[in-house]
């Protein structure tokens, strides 16, 4: 119940295309869903996050879509660029200060030019 399932494991997208990464969760106590971006040799960095009171959040080329009833959320990267090539992790936790983030297994995105 503490798991966050992420797919696909890897993704190759042409420059300018749309990258879509999906995550699903089971624990209904989760109510904070961030996406982290990680470049090789670096720590994860927060990219965008959503709470379940909205179904979509957009920041620049990055959009989170959230489906509370299906307990799924996804990251869309529009106009994907080679600089977006990284590993993306979805995560979740209950909105309680101090509670740990539970991460998905990650998706390695490669954007080809």
């Amino acid at each position: 119940q503490q798991q966050v399932k992420q797919s696909p494991q890897s993704l190759i997208v042409q420059k300018g295309g749309i990258s879509i990464i999906n995550c699903a969760y089971e624990n209904t106590a989760f109510d904070y869903f961030p996406w982290y971006q990680q470049f090789p040799g670096k720590g994860p960095a927060l990219l965008i996050a959503i709470r379940p009171d909205v179904s979509e959040k957009k920041e620049g080329r990055f959009t989170i879509s959230f489906n509370k009833s299906a307990k799924q959320f996804s990251l869309h990267i529009m106009d994907s660029q080679p600089g977006d090539s990284a590993t993306y992790f979805c995560a979740a936790n209950p909105n309680q200060a101090g509670t740990a983030l539970i991460f998905g297994k990650g998706t390695t995105l490669s954007v080809s030019s």
Binding site: G41, G43, L46, G98, A100, F103, G104, K105, G106
Partner: protein
């Protein structure tokens, strides 16, 4: 921009030796975390720390592990007797009540 700082960036140790990984969280943060990431795998939660005590820990965080906040700025992870399978990137993170978790650059631990 404030950041979480971890030292060393890379630590090589003999199996059975003790290691201490160090972190300096962002100064006004209250919640501190250690995560680890085995090469090519997901980020796994180890432990969270608040108000000078462990608030949550995972199954991975067994008796070989301990955390300490020895002063007002440092947050350490100690592994008492390292095993080969402890080889991983270890990330420290911190947050305040209202901010997201910020991660350090990590310490690569190699146990030989």
């Amino acid at each position: 921009e404030p950041e979480v700082t971890q030292t060393p960036s890379h630590q090589v140790t003999q199996m059975g030796q003790e290691v201490i990984l160090r972190c300096v969280p962002i100064s006004n943060h209250l919640y501190f975390y250690w995560y680890r990431q085995i090469l090519g795998q997901k980020v796994e939660f180890l432990v969270s720390f608040y108000n000078n005590e462990i608030s949550e820990k995972s199954e991975i965080f067994d008796d070989q592990f301990s955390v300490e906040r020895p002063d007002g700025s440092n947050f350490t992870l100690k592994i008492r007797s390292t095993k080969l399978e402890d080889s991983a990137m270890y990330f420290c993170a911190s947050r305040s009540r209202t901010t997201e978790a910020f991660f350090g650059q990590g310490t690569r631990l190699t146990v030989v």
